[in-house]
Structures are given as structure tokens and as C-alpha cells.
Symmetry: C2
Subunit: 554 residues, 2 copies
């Protein structure tokens, strides 16, 4: 029995290794068009940045180690050119030319290639991508002498590349077509990342496109849609990827916008042809949206599952993806799981959001730092998505929420999660528990929120009440806000009633906690009241640079 696997990185190599463990007698051939298999593609930016110094660390396995350990026949620098499903034959090409290869079962894990947008001049030799070990070696060499770099695309890999080049001493700019860096993040999270990029000394140009790359002798010039021009020694293209499926689509493998359609065990429409990884369509668990997802974890697991399915060992099915992702940017970690506002709107799912700024661990224990956390949930209480930015403990909370999402938990379930608490690790009420409590309060009307994006409308229509101390107010407050510290509110509630004159009262404080106490008092005193979700911290993060225009400091 011969299994042929096309693609020797995440999904393909997981499939081949698992198939060997289940089928000692099978012949297993892995075809990889590149020169390396099973390499550490997620590590490439850190090699460029100098954190990973040993090139060999990037090569997790080699064809020789895979032969020795698993008896795999791994053929690098080998491309698949055509597939004839009738005769179960692949046409392949390697250094020796073209040949044919038959199979009993075929697994397609071709991955995705870097998109090259149709920008004039994008064929410049100074334009690089960062997808393979040779890409990383080349960029590493260039970084040793180059002075300036432009990264096109501020997604996860783009940010990692920009930080790496900046760490190597290059004057680095990053350009993003979307309104903000890390487009999957909400504004109020992305602006925190933007601030960190600026702190690192990386220039951020968001909401603009690169219209041209002018190729010069000494350097190229990148021209942006807003007229900005930068001279640069290297341009890293990181504007997304496209599944590498033309050969397979031509052979009759059914695709959807270029990605291979598979069933819940990885089967394509073609007999004995299976697929896994970045080139396949995934189903979003929350919204039902269908799209290819370029993530290493899901690719590895899908590869393993396909091997199980072919071996008749199937124990479970591919679940939908919750789309959890994380990136380190300077001292910050930004992470998300589940759906964001746009995905929820596209899917027509009504939702609420809570914002909070808890500490990563007990405040009285040294080294506590703030986590900026937001959680989306449905009108039925079901968790829909979460995002967080902070220094420490962000990965843990997003992973906890990712499991809760996968389990279909409600915000009430979050309240009662038994998370590991001792002062160095968390708080008796963990940030995730608190998010659940806040959300439950929203659902039953105990907490009525207003959101920072609506600040102009709210200022026009409501009495704005700032319940911070006078000292905090001077650091920046909304124009026209009445200031009554929350500890004085019980005695001064008539002042508020008078100032409101029948209008609603929009309360805020620094993080949303003291104003929640005030909001409860106002509501129970018969005033219509709402509390700013996430307080001044979220307001500033939502408005970004516009915050300083709006806020008064006396």
C-alpha cells in the first residue's frame, strides 16, 4: 500500500508520521517542493530578529531523520505538476526531470503562498517574503547591511517581521491597508498595539495602501496612497496568503475560492484524495463562515485526523475552528479567540461586549500588570469571542476563553470556572470570572453600558458624570462632565438629578468599576443611567490619537 503526501510541513508531515505509526508496512512518500520539510515556519521572524541564532534550530526534522525514525521517503525540491485521479497517478518534477508516481491514497497539504498584490514595481529584487527558510536566510543577510525597511501588511507575521527588522537596527515602517494594525483585532485593542510599535520606534501607516514601488539603483521608494514616500533598502511583503491549489483544482478536486473543500474527516470530492492544512476550507465554529485558515495547530491536527481516517482508526471529526491567535509585540502580548465585531455583524449575530482592565495577578503581589480584556457574548449569554492585550497572563486568559468557546459555554459558566489561584498567578476572582460576572449583569439589566465609540452622541444627549477623584479628572476628562467622586455620590445624588434635568446619566471612571457602583446607586434612585464600558482606559484606546483632541485636562 502506497500513501503519497504532497507537502512536507505542518499538515502533510503530521499525516505522514501518524500514518506510519498506524501502518508499519505502508510505503509512505512525502513530496515537498521546497528544500526543507517540517521546518519551524513560525520561528522565521525570530531568526531574522536575532532571538534564534542557530539556523539548524529552524530545521525540526530532515529527510534523513525522518527516514531513520519513521521510515518515510521524503523527497524535497519535488513539485507535483498534475494529477490523474482515474489512474491514481501524479506527474512530478524534481532535479532529474519529470516522472510519474502512482498512489493508493493521496493526501494534499500544499499550503499557501504569499500573495503578491499587483502594485507597480512589486517585482523589485528588494521585495522579499518571509515564508521559508531561504526567505529567512536571505532577509537575515540583508538585515546585516540594510538601513531601512518597509513591511507591507500589519497582520501577525507582518508585525513580527517589522519588530525583527527594527530589533536589528533598521529604520522600519509598517503599512496597513485596513484602518488599524492587526485587522482581526478591534480598534480599542489594536490601538494599544500601535502605541507599542511606536514605542519600539516603528513607524505605523494605517488606513493607506502602497500604490507603487519605484525601483532605484541605491534604494527603492515606496509610494503610499496618501502621498507619503519612503526610501528603503528592503521591502517585506506580508499581505496575506493564497492556497496553492491550481494543480488540484485542474484535476477536478472541488475548491471554494481557491481552497480545497473537505468533509469533516478531510475527504475531498475525489476518491482516495484527502486534504489538510492551510489550503483547505475551514468552518468557523461561531459564525459558520467558510474560509481557509493559515494556522499551524489546526493544520497539524487535520493531518493527523486524515491519517486516522485512511487507516480506519477514526475516533472523532474535525470540529469548526474558534480561530485563536496570538502575537508578541515588544513587551505586549495581543491575542484573540472566536469572532470579532465585524464577523458577528457579517453573520447577523446580535451581541453585547464588556471591557475590563484587571490585573494579571493579585495586586498586592509584586509585578502585577494590567490586562486589557474584552468579551463578546450573545443575547442568550453564549460566549462569542474575546480579545486581550497586556504584558503578562494574556495567553492564559485567551486560552481559557478559547476552551470555554469550544465548549459552548455561557457567561454564567465563566463565573464559576475553578481557575488556579495563588497570588503569583491570578486573583481569587480571575479576570475571566469577572468578565462573566459583568456580562451576567448586562444580561439581567443590573449593568447598563454605554460604549466609547458613541461618545459624541452620549455627550450630546446625556449628563456625563465623572466619578473619579479630582486629581484623576485633571489627567483628562470629557468636556462638560460633572465630577462627583463615587464615595460622595450617596450624599450628592440630588445634584445629579438636578443637573440631569430629565436626561439620562452617562457615568464613567478610570476602568469602569467605581462608575458601576455609581451606576447602581443612580439606577436605584430612579435615574436612567449607563456606565462607560471599560472606562477612560477603553475610551482612550478606542479613540487612539483622537483622544487627546477630545479630552480636557482642566
Amino acid at each position: 500500500m502506497r500513501l503519497v503526501v504532497v507537502g512536507g510541513v505542518a499538515g502533510g508531515m503530521s499525516a505522514a508520521a501518524r500514518f506510519r505509526r498506524l501502518n508499519e508496512d505502508a510505503e509512505i512518500i512525502v513530496l515537498e517542493r521546497g528544500g526543507e520539510v517540517s521546518f519551524a515556519n513560525c520561528g522565521l521572524p525570530y531568526f531574522v530578529g536575532g532571538e534564534i541564532t542557530d539556523e539548524s534550530a529552524l530545521l525540526v526534522q530532515t529527510p534523513a531523520s525522518l527516514e531513520a525514525s519513521l521510515g518515510l521517503d521524503v523527497r524535497v525540491n519535488t513539485r507535483a505538476l498534475a494529477l490523474d485521479p482515474e489512474t491514481r497517478t501524479l506527474t512530478i518534477e524534481d532535479a532529474d526531470g519529470r516522472s510519474e508516481l502512482t498512489y493508493d491514497e493521496l493526501i494534499l497539504s500544499p499550503g499557501a503562498s504569499a500573495l503578491r498584490p499587483p502594485i507597480p514595481g512589486v517585482d523589485s529584487p528588494r521585495v522579499q517574503t518571509l515564508r521559508t527558510v531561504p526567505d529567512a536566510l536571505s532577509l537575515n543577510l540583508i538585515a546585516a547591511t540594510a538601513k531601512r525597511a518597509v513591511v507591507l501588511g500589519a497582520g501577525f507575521i507582518g508585525l513580527e517581521a517589522a519588530e525583527a527588522l527594527n530589533a536589528r537596527g533598521l529604520e522600519t515602517s509598517i503599512v496597513e491597508l485596513a484602518p488599524h494594525v492587526l485587522p482581526p483585532l478591534e480598534d480599542e485593542m489594536a490601538n494599544l498595539v500601535r502605541d507599542e510599535l511606536l514605542r519600539l520606534g516603528i513607524a505605523v501607516h494605517d488606513g493607506v495602501s502602497a500604490d507603487a514601488i519605484e525601483q532605484g539603483e541605491a534604494h527603492d521608494t515606496v509610494v503610499l496612497s496618501d502621498g507619503t514616500r519612503f526610501e528603503t533598502d528592503v521591502i517585506v511583503l506580508s499581505v496575506g496568503v493564497r492556497p496553492d491549489t491550481s494543480v488540484w483544482e485542474a484535476a477536478g478536486v472541488e475548491c471554494e475560492r481557491g481552497a480545497i473543500i473537505v468533509d469533516e474527516v478531510g475527504r475531498t470530492n475525489v476518491d482516495r484524495v484527502w486534504a489538510a492544512g492551510d489550503a483547505t476550507v475551514s468552518v468557523d465554529r461561531i459564525t459558520g463562515a467558510r474560509r481557509p485558515v493559515a494556522l499551524a495547530g489546526p493544520a497539524n491536527r487535520a493531518g493527523r485526523l486524515v491519517a486516522d481516517a485512511i487507516s480506519g482508526k477514526l475516533q472523532h471529526r474535525l470540529p469548526g475552528l474558534t480561530g485563536t491567535a496570538i502575537v508578541r509585540v515588544g513587551d505586549l502580548t495581543a491575542a484573540l479567540t472566536g469572532a470579532n465585531r465585524r464577523a458577528l455583524a457579517d453573520a447577523g449575530i446580535t451581541h453585547y461586549t464588556v471591557h475590563l482592565h484587571p490585573l494579571n495577578h493579585a495586586g498586592y503581589f509584586p509585578g502585577a500588570s494590567q490586562i486589557h480584556l474584552m468579551v463578546h457574548f450573545g443575547t442568550d449569554g453564549k460566549l462569542l469571542g474575546a480579545q486581550a492585550v497586556g504584558n503578562d497572563g494574556v495567553d492564559k486568559r485567551i486560552d481559557v476563553l478559547a476552551v470555554a468557546l469550544k465548549a459552548g459555554m455561557t457567561v454564567h459558566d465563566l463565573i464559576d470556572l475553578d481557575l488556579a489561584y495563588s497570588p503569583p498567578y491570578g486573583s481569587a476572582k480571575d479576570p475571566v470570572n469577572i468578565a462573566g460576572m459583568m456580562a451576567a449583569n448586562v444580561l439581567d439589566g443590573t449593568l447598563n453600558l454605554w460604549y466609547a465609540k458613541d461618545v459624541e452622541d452620549v455627550m450630546r444627549e446625556s449628563l456625563v458624570l465623572d466619578v473619579r477623584s479630582a486629581g484623576e479628572v485633571r489627567t483628562g476628562h470629557l468636556p462638560g462632565a460633572l465630577n462627583i467622586p463615587h464615595t460622595q455620590l450617596r450624599d450628592r445624588i440630588d445634584e445629579v438629578r438636578e443637573a440631569a434635568g430629565g436626561r439620562g446619566v452617562a457615568v464613567y471612571c478610570q476602568s469602569g468599576m467605581r462608575s458601576y457602583l455609581a451606576h447602581r446607586q443612580l439606577s436605584q434612585a430612579g435615574l436612567r443611567s449607563a456606565n462607560l464600558s471599560g472606562g477612560m482606559l477603553t475610551l482612550r484606546a478606542t479613540l487612539g490619537p483622537r483622544a487627546d483632541e477630545l479630552l480636557l485636562t482642566k
Copy 2:
């Protein structure tokens, strides 16, 4: 309407604060027998150890701050002496003497007191507990001049106390009646903690009791059941707690072995009397066992829920507890969630266990360290419990598993958890995913395990096969083991068949991964084979000091 809350720390204060937010007009009186409310009890060892330097950091709230912020009438140094449920009257005692206090609703959150075992001499003035701020202040003072300390009880707080005193320069010994430190942990985890205690310079005496405390003028002498005697300047008693419920039981509040019985919203058997926290009976979610649980998180949440119930705002019920706990010991973190072997045995639940030693994040990224992880699961695949010890990333994995437990997930569900991956935070296959894969392999017979505790039997009955390299074998191997490196096994399988002579083959390597590959080859070659769960690392950790007696180094 008057609410009286007895106990002003975790559960009681959460109840009082929540009740105020829901009932602005209620009179809320909190009685606390100690001098402080809402203090950071989990922070006390770190204050003694010098990591928390500011005493005021331990006082999260004061009666004054609670009056200002929440309008609570907090009365410290006030004891409840009796309850008359008929007339809804408490007899209380404070500095002014006895008086009576009526209530409309009463919440009992009296907590638990340190157990004082009936050891001769336990009344020595050198015997201390570490439950309150005055305890911590006193121990902090003593530590400034004392030279030697003995901690009786190596549970979570006992270890924290021992590490604190050791950090202050005291020659510190810890004594534990159970066979190993941290009794809720399995042997193979606890021995790793023991090694870390020894590395810190703390003397560990486990499996022995303290039989007497001989009070001397210059010092006391602790006498152990094995005859060991130490002179010491201070003795910290940390052998457990007992619910403080005698007053309530006398008044007719139904208790079970001293702990108050509540329903799933915190109601006792007595009309208008509610309870929350360490003094109540909790139900274990996995085993159904009933016992009081002294954990801050569950106490806080139970207090909040009781306030909701009294307010008619109830959104959910008290779930059973998964019993998640964590402790920092030196550079290590040890944590657990769910049931351990003993609890499963007591409940008659058949289970399997997998051991693994994955890295906390991608191995090619600097600073990776090993997590020693074990997972218990049922014959139906249901997750039952997990424990982990390591340097970094332990808290995250145990929290992830705690959520999975709460959700009733199976090991198959663990495989497909979408956890946040990028090289600084994890691996494409997270330790939790891998645990799920291993467990699924056990369930369907792909992986047949043997366990370190059975090593003597296995050596007697099976051919032992060591598939590590010759160099690794020399660092310590089982007597009589045949050594064939796993990469040579395909060519040398007949050697194994011959040596086995009809016996089963017990394979092992360092961590269990290479021997799993070997096990698959052996099984498919028709040999009865089993793989050592967790490999040599788990074997050494299980045997502890006995490992060096058993293993040969040439």
C-alpha cells in the same frame, strides 16, 4: 430591611458588597471577629518571606473604605455567640460587652480555624499559625531574629510558609505525616517538588508525625515519630483547618462533620439563614465527594451567589467544584485540577493515566522548559483530573484543563482545542492537545502503557527494551534492559523477538515518545508490547530517592 453577615473576609465580604450593589436601601452589617476585614490572606506567606514589604498592601479594604464606597456597617473584633432563629436574633460580643442584634436575613461566612493537633507541648508560645494579619506580623518579627524554624504540615500553605522562612535565612525543616509533601499531588509530581525544596535548602521529613514539642528556655525541641529531634526557635502549625461552626450547629443549622450544609444557592436548613465559604460543604464535581473546601475563589463566588439569591436576582446555581489549586515552590510551579488517584479509587472510578514532558513553548525559541504533566481520564474518555509541575506555563495548562473538566470534555475534545500559538507562548501541538492524542491512543489500543509504580513486576515478567542512545543509557537504565536505539529497531526487531522468548516487551525511553514509536513497531510485528508512561523521567520521579538504588549506570 437588615442583612447581617457573619465573617468579613472572602465569602462574607463578597456577599455584603454584592448585596449593596443590588439593594441600595438595605442596612448591611458585617461582623468580623478579627481586627481586619477583606485582607489578603493568600498574601501572608509572601509578607513573611519579604516579597511583599508593605503591610498596608495586605489590607485590601478597611471598615472605613467599605463605609465610604459601599455604605457597609463593618464591625471588627465582634464575635457572634449565639443565634435564635425564632426571633431572628444574634447575641454578639465586642469591646463594649454583649448585645443582641436582629436580622431579616443572615449570611454565615465564619470561615475555618487552624487545626491544633493534640501533640504534647503544642501550647508552646513558640508555636504559630499563619491565618491572619496579626499572625503574619508576629511571624515576620520572629523571623528577624530566629535562626531555626520547623513547619508542621507540607500542604500548600505549609510549603509557602517554609519557603518564606527559608528565604529569610532561617534553617527550615518541614514535617509531613503523609508519605510525601503536597498530599493532594501524586507521588511522581510531589517528588519533583521535594527535590526543589531540598535545592532551596529546606529539610524535608515526610511520612512521619511530630510526636512532641518539648518546651525549653532557649528553644523548643520537636520530636518526630522516627526519633529525629530538632531544636527550633519557631514552629509553624499548618496541618489543616476546621470550619468554625459550633455556634451555628448549636442553633440548629444542619452540619456534616462540622461544615454547614447548603443547597445549590447557599440556603441552610434554617429559614432566612444562608451560608458561604470555607465553613460550608462543597460537592466535588468529578467524584461527588462532599467536604468543606478552603479556597478563596469558590468562597467569593458563593458569597456573591447568596446575595443574588436573597435579592431574587438568581441567574445560576452553585456548580460542583473541580478543586483547582496551585503553589509556587522556588522556581517551580505545581498545580492540579480535578480528582487524583486516591479520590478516583475512593469513588470507585476506573481510570487511565498518561504522563508527558512537553516543553512550555516551541523548543527552537529561547528559554523553553519542560512541563511534567499527567492526565487522568475514564474508560469513556472523560477527563477526570490533571497535575503539572514545571517552571513556566504550568498555570496556563492546568487552567485550560480545569475549564475542560468543568465542561465535561473528553480527551478527544482536548485534541482539538484551539489554543493560542506562537513560538514564545506554546507549540503548534500544545501540551494539552498532545495529552489528548496520547489518551485517545490509549482508549483505542494504539498505545498500551505500563506504569513506573509496577517496575519490579514488569522487570520480572517482561523483556525490558531501552530504545535510547547508548550515551543516554549510561546515565541510568533498568537492570537487564536490552538496548536498541529506536532508529535501529526496524532492522533489529528479530533480536527483540528472540530475547523476549514469548514474554511481553516493556519499552521505555527518556520521555515516552521514541518508545511509543518502538511500541508501534513491536505491536505491528506481532509482539505483545507496552510503553512506559512518561519514560525514564516519570520513573525517576515516581521512585524518588529509590531510583538511584534501582538504576544501573553501566
